[in-house]
Symmetry: C3
């Protein structure tokens, strides 16, 4: 059997890049790059200013490149990039007018540089409430916060220090947005929901839609009012057009540092732990608990009222109908432990052969019975 890519990797960020050279629209001196990444050591020098980031094979003068994945190691010697981020175990020497920066993790160092670029490219808007925004009575907007054009902040809501409601954002009655949050265009935070600090909502996110709860009475589904809230802890990020339902009563929670991709559904009363990863198009059903460090692959579904243990992994497109133990890795439709599921899938491909073998055995058996008959 070929070695399949683990489905839980779906949609997690690629560590390498397609070979397109990109202008950074800003320039750094090699010394500025070094100041950002704080290398363990350096080899060589360059006089080029850095204006682009490129994969090793595509890099040229003025580009920064990096060895993010060991399989590209052989490309380092040939790269013409001016500055190259390399791991400590890389032994080679730079070419002329080329600087090697030796760091613990080149991809982390690259992320630090990108973060700096992002800071420069995405200028912090001036604080204040845009004249086209509507802020209801009794809402409190921090003096350092920005409420952009055509936003709505309903009465009694709070927006914390340096938080940024970009444009056309909705913050409902009595909702609380902490400090340093960024709510991108069209993001919606319904009444009474809570975002702590440094929460980032991508465009179109809905926080605090009603949970999906009905009682079936006399042939009709009568709505069970959903009077709880959603709480997003510090450093949570939610992807575009994802939806998080408010609790029936009490709270739906996303724990500190958890990152949720696009088009994910989190039902009412779900409790998601800290530092989890939920890939795109995942659905978590009502009242299920994900403990810390859980990873859920793209398009997977988890039934309601389950507990997914700490650091468990759920493969892409899996359907989880039972609770999962800590550190377990489950895969498949009615998900099984990955080792078992992979085994069964392999055998499933041998089913046509198995049917033929049973046919052959039955035929031989018939012959044997006849020949052994008196």
């Amino acid at each position: 059997m070929s070695k399949a890519r683990a489905p839980h990797e779906w949609n997690i960020a690629p560590r390498t890049e397609t070979p397109t050279i990109v202008s950074m629209q800003v320039a750094f001196t090699p010394a500025e790059i070094a100041a950002i990444v704080q290398p363990k050591s350096t080899r060589g020098t360059t006089t080029e200013a850095i204006r682009g980031i490129a994969p090793l094979e595509a890099g040229g003068p003025g580009d920064l490149s990096f060895l993010g994945n060991a399989k590209y190691r052989s490309q380092v010697a040939a790269t013409r990039a001016s500055v190259v981020l390399l791991p400590v175990d890389y032994a080679g020497q730079p070419g002329p007018n080329q600087l090697f920066l030796i760091v613990d993790q080149p991809s982390v160092a690259l992320a630090q540089i990108c973060a700096r670029i992002e800071q420069m490219l995405w200028p912090k808007p001036a604080p204040g409430v845009h004249p086209t925004a509507f802020v209801g009575p009794g809402a409190r907007i921090a003096a350092t916060a920005t409420v952009g054009p055509l936003c709505v902040v309903e009465s009694g809501a709070v927006v914390g220090e340096r938080s940024h409601l970009q444009a056309q954002v909705f913050v409902g009655r009595e909702a609380r947005i902490g400090d340093d949050c960024w709510l991108m265009p069209g993001a919606i935070v319904a009444a009474e929901c809570v975002l702590k600090n440094r929460v980032r909502l991508q465009p179109g996110v809905v926080v605090g839609s009603d949970g999906f709860g009905y009682e079936f009475v006399a042939g009709r589904h009568e709505k069970v009012p959903q009077v709880g809230v959603v709480v997003l802890e510090n450093d949570v990020e939610i992807g575009a057009n994802s939806t998080l339902d408010r609790a029936r009563f009490s709270r739906t929670v996303v724990g500190e540092g958890t990152k949720i991709d696009n088009l994910v559904q989190v039902a009412h009363n779900v409790i998601i732990g800290r530092h989890c990863i939920l890939c795109a198009l995942v659905g978590i059903s009502g009242s299920t608990v994900l403990e810390d460090y859980v990873i859920v692959g793209g398009q997977a579904g988890v039934a309601g009222h389950l507990t997914i243990g700490r650091a468990a992994k759920i493969g892409g497109q899996s359907a989880v109908t039972h609770s999962v133990k800590p550190n377990e890795y489950v895969v498949g439709y009615n998900a099984l432990p990955s080792m078992i599921e992979q085994r069964i899938r392999a055998l499933r491909q041998r089913l046509p052969d198995l049917f033929k073998r049973v046919d052959a055995i039955e035929a031989q058996m018939d012959r044997l019975k006849k020949s052994s008959a008196p």
Copy 2:
């Protein structure tokens, strides 16, 4: 085999609650609670005002609790909640300063109380068109309706009595919104679509996007114009960021009382019957018909041009590629009747064993043939 939770239950509302005590932000006297739920009988009395709702084990003075699921029956005797909703077959007696309210269905009674809380917590806005909203020429807004901040109502559209467009809602040209509808922030109703009465759109819903129809001509996909509409009948509720496409011509329909969860796709010309339930991330392909009382589990998909019979159930993540008979319960990828599918899934886990058994039989067969050879 363990008894799996039926996949169709995914994402349907939990009937029980995580043990977090919630303040109701309002208070009721025990007499007010009794007036809401109209108990068959009562036992005991309490002088506490009710200010919270809590599960049995977490309830204390001032809390309302309830026995919603028989498996928690043993917790009733120990609960310290001041008021407890109980079924008629519960025989125990209340403690001191405790009131038991005996009702037909405690969870329905709880829903009635929550509905009252919701009414109190979500104040009806004052009627009128907010000065920041834009209403096109010829649009007709009922005098009792509310059009909130930064909404758009295009020309010729109609908004009925007491309907509430909360904020940043879009209602397109010639669309018609009936009475007592609630369109939450960012909801979109495109041109000419129709919402009857008491329709509720959660945030970000799109009603009336174009159906996905192209003719493949000379190597290109040429758009087939979608000139039909979407009609949502009375008491329909649509979940956050779900999308319902307008018909190619004629109508896409969602029947009375049907409830659709978040991130659901309903394609053009689909006809959904009355009182159906569609859980999150479901996709219904073009021209398929769901008869009344159909339930579709989370992340299931139904191919186009099929008929799903009255009260049929489709398990979560199933792929339905054939029509389904009334009352049938189908499950799986190329969905089969649930009984058959569950059987096959169980046998699938025994495949490794089956392969070993066949290997052993073949080996024995070889030995038998040799030993019986002359």
Copy 3:
């Protein structure tokens, strides 16, 4: 085995129509219809003005009908529609006051007529920027473009000739919208992203949300800044509430003429070729390449860093974890070539029988061994 509908057809436009007669709200003379479809030949005449479109069996005087699918051929003789679009191999003659228009592809001819109706029904708005819209400094709006109510166009953005931002649309800083684009209500194009010409965004589309990329450092997921863009080439259409992530750096691309349905997720650095079809609820993971003419069925998922060859087809709800060759048709969970997958699925249904057969063989084997024992 019954012949299953190919899953890749899910959610692709139906070619036939439910039997509801629809008023076109406009009228055409038979001569005007003929001028639009340019028939190869005609049979008969009618004096009726055409005011509706109807299926063959439902058509009456004043209706246009068509034979779009050979299985309805027998209905042509009985239809009372005044004008009927028919293929060249249809031999029958019209009734009294009835006109047959013989065309190469009746469904294409119908599409041409619908396109004309659409042009008439959806009036082009007057050019200009609505007074309630906000346009940032340095944004350039073509004189023939329309920026509707409550739109935001940030600084430095460009909107091309005749493009239409309908209402509540967001176009971010330095983004570029080409000519003849239509951005429907609530569509979002984030900073620096590029739409070429004739691009159509359905309501709620998000172009340019951040890619989902984190480095796991010291027990936390640290964000990898996503500083690339999204580029949509000419004639791309994106369905309601779909999301397309900007690249880590460089570009996420959707090629010319590709059509994407509702609630689809396209991750960062994905490159989609020309004239592809992606049905609803599909997820394409990071850095994967789809070559031209690829078709992806509804709810299918494709893992990251793969290449899907030209004109390959992926069945609905399939999980693709390996690259796919040009023209290949793959289906299933860990998708296999369709022929193999269909075979295995059929055998899977015979598993209960196979287990019984092996039980019987083992029993016989035991008897044979005993009888052959000395």
